[in-house]
Symmetry: C2
């Protein structure tokens, strides 16, 4: 078998919110003594998150603002720091400081502020947005899973925050990730895009939806395209994936070949579907206002899927 | 762009537990009047599930044993039927009858029995195992999410069982699916397989693991191979996916190219890793005992990934 670079996905941070450089230390995080040692270590780094916004240094090019164990202790937090991973021997944690009034003022931290993750995805240095994605998804999951689904008892973090355990019945819970499919539907030299309810005229993107129980990726793609646009799909190819931490989706990006041209929006999630030529899509990506077409910004995998499709030769 | 059959995945049921023929009726299931009508309709079909085992007709070739609305009413169940989907205008539901003592005896149902889903995946007619996967994952999720993670209040099924809602705080919950990666690691003419802790000597399979927060599919593949076998991966290609309803995993199958040959089992989940030549793998798949290698049965995507890799030309 030959190495197939065209089929294979390189591992560099291709997509916003990927490229997290931390070693997640999966083989260590259930070692309570090791975790306690890292929590107290002077070199350990803590990322504060308040109401799902991330502490960053304010600058032309923002960077994540880490605080040390001492600053973290001074806040006298009740919430448990959650291990993100290790880099160069230094443990990195995320900490939910939402319950603290004015944490920055209390510690006299200057030049730093809490920032909305979406805006950080394409402005942080490479890889740091991957840390943001991990931290936001994890802390949001902790906040929303304080009780046991099986018995209603209180749960507490375990394994350095990579799970929660019910104090009443002992059930373990792991953070959830919701796999979804997002696809460029294509046929001949055109692709089918959809305008979601509430989006302005001309604003189109990929069709997309969550995978359901008992479905393959390919089946989910075909079902969603059928539901949203009444178009039958006869072949699917995987292109790329992206973590999307709102709250914790794995976007699985595909190309879907349409078996027919007839398309009709479902009028529920999708208000309008339309076929666009490759030339129109290229024009829109180049910022040509004459196309009347707006596609999503580069923060979204939809942008990259549409761009990749537009760059294929007819 | 040309149609690329070699890259694209056909939509037929390639993998056990896929190929569900029902239309999931996503655009109807939040219509309570429509759902009530289907629940009462004489032609509607109900699949009984007891302790996660599925009611099937006992025969050389088993088939799913559906009961009608009347039989279902006679059980006087407290649990809400969960909509699976619609076929030829007929609604299909799954019903958890675990709380009923001897449901078959009570209704005098003969020739039918509750069967373990794993054994059904490769014996049911095409597509029926996809229904089993959907039903098992959905009912298991309902049983384990009776309370709200946010406030501890009681939840009740909503939208024909495609969600649950908290009666105290109104939060909506949707069934979870856990995306995981499973991969044939390869280099030159050999592939790297692992023997899980507790498996007998010679019993090898793909490396695998759950995707974590803030990861792409490709990053999860590289991380798992690094963690379980200390092998760096420099390229990943997607091959196929499979729903695995124990309880609700989406297996994302890939080929991963190893950047080096040095491999060492983590001694945690994986007790032994070993490189196998394509000839050895082909021998094992042909049932040759001389290879000393046993790979998973066809119920698992691992079998199909290893087989596909073995059939590639060197």
């Amino acid at each position: 078998m030959h190495y197939r670079p065209t089929d294979s996905q390189p591992l560099q941070p291709l997509m916003p919110f990927s490229g997290n450089p931390l070693d997640r230390a999966s083989n260590f995080r259930d070692d309570d003594a090791w975790v306690a040692q890292q929590l107290a270590a002077p070199q350990s780094r803590f990322l504060w998150v308040s109401k799902l916004e991330i502490l960053t240094h304010q600058a032309a090019t923002p960077t994540l603002a880490w605080v040390d164990a001492e600053a973290n202790r001074e806040l006298d937090l009740e919430s448990t720091p959650v291990l993100l991973g290790v880099r160069d021997g230094v443990a990195h944690f995320a900490v939910d400081v939402s319950a603290i009034e004015g944490p920055l003022e209390r510690l006299g931290l200057q030049g730093a502020a809490f920032a909305e993750p979406r805006g950080l995805a394409t402005t942080l240095p490479a890889g740091e947005a991957g840390i943001v994605a991990q931290a936001r998804s994890l802390l949001d999951w902790h906040a929303r899973h304080r009780f046991c689904g099986a018995c209603g008892g209180e749960t507490v973090p375990a394994m350095a925050g990579s799970s929660r355990v019910c104090q009443a019945c002992g059930t373990h819970f792991f953070p959830r990730i919701d796999p979804s499919v997002i696809m460029v539907v294509w046929r001949d030299d055109r692709c089918l895009l959809g305008r979601r309810r509430g989006r302005p005229p001309g604003s189109f993107s990929c069709l997309a939806g969550y995978i359901e129980q008992g479905e393959t990726i390919e089946e989910a793609v075909a079902r969603e395209v059928q539901e949203e646009a009444t178009v039958p799909v006869d072949a699917v190819s995987y292109e790329a994936s992206q973590p999307w931490p709102f709250p914790s989706t794995l976007m699985i990006g595909c190309f879907a070949h349409a078996a027919s041209e007839d398309a009709m929006a479902d009028q529920l999630e999708i208000e309008e579907v339309r076929w666009f030529s490759r030339a129109e899509v290229r024009g829109a990506l180049a910022g040509d206002p004459q196309t009347g077409l707006t596609i999503p910004a580069p923060v979204a995998i939809a942008h990259h899927l549409i761009r990749r499709w537009s760059e294929l030769e007819s």
